[in-house]
Amino acid sequence: MKNSHIAIELIDVDKHFGAVHANDKVNLSVKTGTIHGIVGENGAGKSTLMSILYGFYQADSGQIKVFDQDFISTNSRQSIEAGIGMVHQHFMLVENFTVLENVILGSEGGALITESLEKARIELTRLAKEYGLEVELDVAVEELSVGMQQRVEILKGLYKGAKVLILDEPTGVLTPQESDELFRIFEALKKQGVTIILITHKLREIMSITDYVSVMRAGKMVAHRQTSETNPEELAELMIGRKVLLNIVRTEAKSGDPLLIASNLEIHNEQGIKRVSEVSFEARSGEILGIAGVTGNGQGTLLKALAGILPLSKGSIEILGETISPKKSLNPQELRNLGVAHVPEDRQRMGLISDFSASESALLGYQNDKEINQGVWLKRSLVKANCESIMEAFDVRPTNPDLKSSNFSGGNQQKLILAREFERNPQVLIIGQPTRGIDIGAIEFIRKRIIEMRDAGKAIILISVELEEIMSISDRIIVMCDGEITGTVDAANADEATLGMMMANALPSDKQITEAQL
């Protein structure tokens, strides 16, 4: 009955993926009409748990009750019928369909769609108004902003009659201001009796909008709290299992000469769309320059251009004595020879080759080195020895160069990539999302190493969508939005609210100039 007190109840839900015990006898009770947060580190099992509820996966054992009725879901259809909707981290939208077509997919209400589309239009207009989720119905989804696409996902769930809405890391793609807007929508939904389950690893969000919070760690559900009776420190400790230093202590930067000077860069991505315009900055030796911004605002494109993967349309980059311009580009090989190292954003698709052994992955970018080639012969014994030595230097486990790259954990994969790039003693390091999806132990290790490189006089450009990461290790921060730089601050003077405004390009223009003068 939809009037019951407990919307969702999970009893001893258990799930294995091969050897990985993703959900270990998890118990959860979500009260109707509340906003219930589920926190945990990456890999704690939150997404898996919710996917079981949504029918995407099936639990190995355990019981689920939805509004006091026993519930078994073998596919999403049953979950949808039971009133459960889910907004995934990566949107489940058909890009070249219109918003309307995306919403009715699977709930067309008839074999011919012309009629269904008209019926849906009326219903959607009503829903959108009721919850403040206005969006243009006849536009192709690929033309909408990310925030708008998220609205479509929420509308989809509501259109199919969701009484329980699960959102998986919804704010990863939003600015702080857009996140606040989303939370206002949550309040509106809550007033109408919709139950919301929010999966996140951001403690700030939990504290600001949830009524209850449950903590997962390594597949187990370890605690339930009423949000008003807990605090971020307690939650962090529950998440990790030990006391955590939320900030890394470090010395002042001793910055020297600029090793990389970017002037008026204009860059188009692989599809030919302009993603970066009029960007200028300097990276100095002995300094970490952090580039902050919400995903998709040009940082990735900038990173690729700095690494020699994308050409410049306008502007120039002076780097270690060479100049890159639209007429003269340097490919990744040439940049490496100059002394530029690149840790890519996507470690599994670009930084490593999953099917290659660790020693072959450790060779990527350096396969033409004189030290390991004798004439035409690529000496595998030397390749292996090289891999062993860098694995030891960076504590990559297991220390087995013959093991397939995909068999290493995320943290160890990233350490291998860093080892490969750092051990060459580069002068300039370009690093993208270094700690995405990695366990805390590895995060601490990696951040320490980056700071060590800084102290050794290297110029480091760090791009991350985690504002917390940028703020904790950068010396200077620039913020990008819509392909432009919207602000520059010294890390010591940075505060999240101002940075958030810069990320949304929402600062009044005189304030922008003031910040840049710092």
């Binding site: 050897a19 990744p332 698709r349 999953s354 290659f356 990527l364 396969q367 033409n368 690529l378």
Partner: protein, 364 residues
């Protein structure tokens, strides 16, 4: 044995073995369907291929062609490309060989002419692959369709060449004149006779040494040079290749040229090894057979040598079957090829869940 080692055994040996056995079983079903006793057929086949000297010679002679085309397909697969154009590349490669054999001064020594002829095969085979390769790399045209088209175009071209250009005046059949003897590759039975051993006559000739040489070369190239590394990296991940300073477009073109060149060597066996003249359809079936051989041999030269031998056995055994049994023709080997490609390629992972569950289960 650790689980990793077990998985390596499963993936490297047991899985392909089960796949091949299934292909054989399926062929047995086909035999039954047309009213032939599969056991009897197998006996005739094995006898025909291995039971007597001449048959064995034929088996190895057929296997030589499969080594060339198998290597060709395998090299392309390592770059992530499916080269179905082996038929056409082998055919046109033969033209290159024939042109050297017919028009380069026959007064030169065999030690110069034969390598030159081999180079002609390599060059022309590569040329027939370069256009589809370029179109895939720089214009995104699907290489599978373009190479198939080029197979048909090769047919048309070669018929034209043999009917209108290379045919001797007054001769009826479309073929070239005979190659001068200096450019012939000696038959193995002749070589043995030179040492005093008498073995049965067969088309087996020294091109088998050429095949073994190129197998070794391909192995060294792919796993022990930086260019082989670049090819394999591109095949696994385009992004990682670009990141590593490799130009995937160049790799596509170069790899396909190597692949076409290898396929072009079929003529080294058929033309300067056996028939000593250029004629229609000498390449027939070897290009597609190469696909089966590469898949069965898991794109590794050692596997390819074994698979090529197996297909040589099937071809020669098939000829024996055709001879002995009334309602079976040599096309049964084509059916086998299709089944091998299906089970070793399309249904590659059919047995994997079962094998893993019984032989390398996850310890919980």
């Amino acid at each position: 044995m650790t689980r990793d080692r077990r998985l390596a055994w499963i993936n490297g040996l047991l899985l392909p073995l089960f796949n091949v056995l299934t292909a054989f079983l399926a062929t047995a079903v086909v035999f039954l369907f047309i009213g032939v006793d599969p056991i009897k057929a197998t006996k005739i086949l094995i006898y025909g291929a291995l039971g007597y000297d001449e048959g064995l010679g034929y088996t190895l002679y057929y296997a030589t062609n499969f080594v060339f085309t198998g290597l060709a397909v395998a090299v392309a697969f390592h770059a992530g490309l499916f080269n179905i154009g082996g038929e056409g590349q082998a055919y046109v490669g033969g033209l290159g060989i024939a042109l050297v054999a017919l028009y380069i001064n026959p007064a030169l020594s065999a030690w110069i002419l034969i390598p030159l002829a081999i180079s002609g095969g390599l060059l022309f085979g590569a040329l027939w692959a370069i256009i589809p390769a370029y179109l895939q790399a720089y214009r995104g045209s699907h290489i599978v369709i373009t190479t198939i088209m080029f197979n048909f175009l090769a047919s048309a071209l070669m018929v034209y060449m043999l009917v209108h250009v290379l045919r001797e005046v007054g001769q009826m059949s479309p073929e070239s004149r005979n190659f001068p003897e200096v450019v012939w590759l000696p038959f193995v039975h002749d070589v043995f006779a030179g040492f005093g051993y008498n073995i049965a006559k067969s088309p087996l000739n020294l091109s088998i040494l050429v095949a073994l040489f190129f197998s070794l070369l391909v192995w060294f190239f792919l796993w022990h040079t930086r260019w082989g590394f670049a090819i394999r990296a591109t095949g696994k991940s385009n992004d990682a290749a670009i990141y590593s300073g490799i130009n995937p477009k160049k790799i596509i073109v170069v790899t396909m040229c190597i692949s076409g060149a290898l396929a072009g060597l079929v003529g080294v066996n058929e033309l300067i090894g056996v028939q000593h003249r250029l004629f229609l359809n000498f390449n027939y079936g070897y290009g597609f057979g190469g696909i089966a051989v590469a898949l069965m041999g898991r794109n590794h030269p050692v596997g390819i040598l074994i698979a090529a031998l197996l297909f040589g056995i099937l071809y020669q055994g098939g000829a024996e079957l055709d001879f002995e049994l009334q309602n079976v023709s040599r096309d049964i080997v084509v059916v086998m090829q299709g089944l091998v490609i299906l089970f070793c390629g399309g249904l590659e992972y059919l047995y994997r869940p079962l094998l893993i569950r019984f032989l390398a289960p996850i310890e919980t």
